[in-house]
Amino acid sequence: MDILDQLGAVREGKLSRRRFTQGLLSAGVAMTMVPAGARRVMASEGDQATYFTWGGYDIPELFGEYQAKNGALPNFSVFGGSEEALTKMRGGFVVDVSHPCNQALPRWVASGLFQPIDPSRLSHWADVMPELIDLQGNDAGEGKVWMAPFDWGQSSITYRTDLVELPNGEESWDILWDPKYAGRLGSLAAGADAWWIGAIKAGVPFDQLDTDEAFEKIAAVMREQRPLIRTYTDDTTTLEQALASGEMVAALTWNSSAALLRSEGVPVAFAKPKEGALTWVCGVVIHKDAPNIDRAYDVIDSLLSVETGQFMINDYGYGHSNRKSFDSFDEEMLSGLGLSKNPIEVLQAGHFQIPQSQDWETRMNELFEQIKAGF
């Protein structure tokens, strides 16, 4: 094809209609091809497993083993609440590995979206604490499990030790209901944490959550708290920044927020409320249509490794499921983080979440969202 000075032709007014159309066509083809090129480049990375997880777990520190074996990090997709994640996957979002908690596990399994995990394919399985595997609804038969336990911890109050005066000198959930701190309290937005705290505060035992009376009692408590809350958010960074600046004096968080703030030198404590904290175990599940099943097992193996466990304990303050991860920490340091080498001790000292029915979950979320909106 001969090369024309197109610009010159335009200037002289000599650009023929055919030339002009050709120019347009080539521009159009070029534009269409741009994403095709990018896609091919992405494809070399796309062979990695996709891990659909909570915000904060999408960091290289947790995937040392995976990276060493596969040469790259897995792909990440992040959610803020596990209900949101389940809805997204039910809507057709296919991933390899996801990250529910024990309370949601039976409902996740009932959705039929996940496949049993074969423990014989996991190299660290022998070191995983059996108490954490033996969860309600986790047995998939034939020695398989639905969820490989990964992290465990508490939902409790992270408060500024310099700005909060403890009621009667005791750490208590009352801090989050204290009108003295109106507008300076924060909370996680998901009902999967906040509603259960409401149950503890209202004195409703977890095995009686599914009654009209329990709903009324907890709703009353949540309505009482709502005007005091500055913002409800699923983004832990927002809460951490607000606590660091003093915009908030106390907030409902997980272990990691307190651990991160403390490492920044902010005077905070992660409360051990006298009524008991909310405790949970989370783990990883494999999607039934996981496109990279071998790498999915690599993701799980990497998460269960000792190096990952040490990072989780030391930097995030979470418990880990591999018992060897605890070996390099002494009891004193662990109890400072609210952890122990014997997880059952910590989990039973608090209020351990019990799985609920889908109907309960929906009703709870509907009611809690209305309360948050001011009704």
């Binding site: 809805t87 915009e247 969202e369």
Partner: protein
């Protein structure tokens, strides 16, 4: 290669040309058909991208949630709930209130800017317009976070005021409130007001203004009697362009609204997310659409009448 094409041509010569001739003839005769043919690519995109999803939404809104699935018996229950339960009405009202104020604020703030460029800038007008729309070259999310930095507890405004000794403690109503949402919306949508206002002001025939002055109108009367009525199309367009999308806005209230700043868009998102009630979400979307259409029609009717009275 050449042979086959020739052969193919020879074969088809008997019948198809007449058919294509018939088609061409039909197109030649029927203006409607030609029109449809011309807009067919757009029409196809509209059908696939807007009409089909809307129909799906409409059908979904008459279903009921049932565990993980849907009960597909048609029912008006969702609409009855929206009508009877106070929360939906209150959220709709709040959304219209917030985006209404944001719309008025945006138009009021942008009118002087557009006016200045249209009447007092004589060289490099395009440069001025580009400069005014420059902030809109950044992502919407970035602009929201920028406002978070400005309005925040230790943000620009608070720390500035504290340094000057005007306030003792940071102003807390700035962030996580309806004020924050209104300010951010008014800034984020400014480009959509400046451009239509500028175009309508630019079109005004300057000799009309001179005539008004000659006939004894002062600057204020001249503005009210000539400039404003003639720029009304721009004002109306700007109002629509801002009011309609901001009413259903979701990101801004989610990040800056706090508990009292939640709007209907957030609630619709929750229905499709955590609350897991897609039919209800569909119903809310349709009710919102109907309300916006109704408000827009009333607004159009009122401005038409006002304009008729002025001219």
């Amino acid at each position: 290669m050449a042979d086959t094409t020739l052969a193919g041509k020879a074969d088809s010569e008997a019948d198809p040309p007449r058919r294509s001739g018939r088609l061409a003839g039909f197109l030649h005769r029927s203006e409607t058909a030609r029109g449809y043919l011309l807009i067919s690519p757009t029409l196809a995109i509209m059908t696939v991208g807007i009409i089909m999803p809307f129909l799906i939404l409409l059908v979904l809104s008459f279903w009921t949630r049932q565990g993980f699935g849907f009960d597909t018996t048609p029912t008006f229950n969702n609409y009855i709930r929206v009508w009877t339960e106070p929360i939906f009405g209150a959220l709709l009202q709040r959304s219209f209130w917030i985006s209404g104020i944001a719309t008025v604020a945006t138009v009021l703030l942008c009118y002087p800017m557009a006016y200045f460029v249209a009447f007092h800038v004589h060289r490099n007008k395009m440069l001025w317009i580009i400069l005014m729309t420059l902030p809109f070259w950044t992502s919407y999310l970035l602009r929201i976070f920028a406002w978070k930095v400005i309005l925040g507890y230790e943000g620009v405004i608070n720390s500035g005021f504290m340094a000057m000794g005007w306030i003792q403690a940071p102003l807390e109503f700035l962030l996580y409130s309806q004020t924050a949402v209104i300010i951010t919306l008014a800034h984020a949508w400014a480009a959509f007001a400046i451009l239509p206002l500028y175009v309508s002001l630019e079109k005004i025939d300057k000799s009309l203004l001179e005539a008004a002055t000659d006939l004894g109108d002062g600057p204020v009367a001249r503005f009210l009697r000539v400039t404003l009525p003639l720029s009304m199309p721009g004002v109306i367009a700007a109002c629509f362009l801002i009011f309609i999308p901001t009413t259903g806005d979701y990101v801004t209230p989610a990040l800056l609204g706090g508990p009292d700043g939640a709007m209907i868009g957030n609630f619709i998102q929750l229905q499709f997310g955590a609350v897991n009630n897609w039919p209800m979400g569909a119903t809310l979307s349709i009710v919102l659409m109907l309300w916006i259409a109704a408000i827009a029609l009333v607004f159009l009717f009122l401005t038409r009448r006002a304009q008729a009275r002025i001219t």
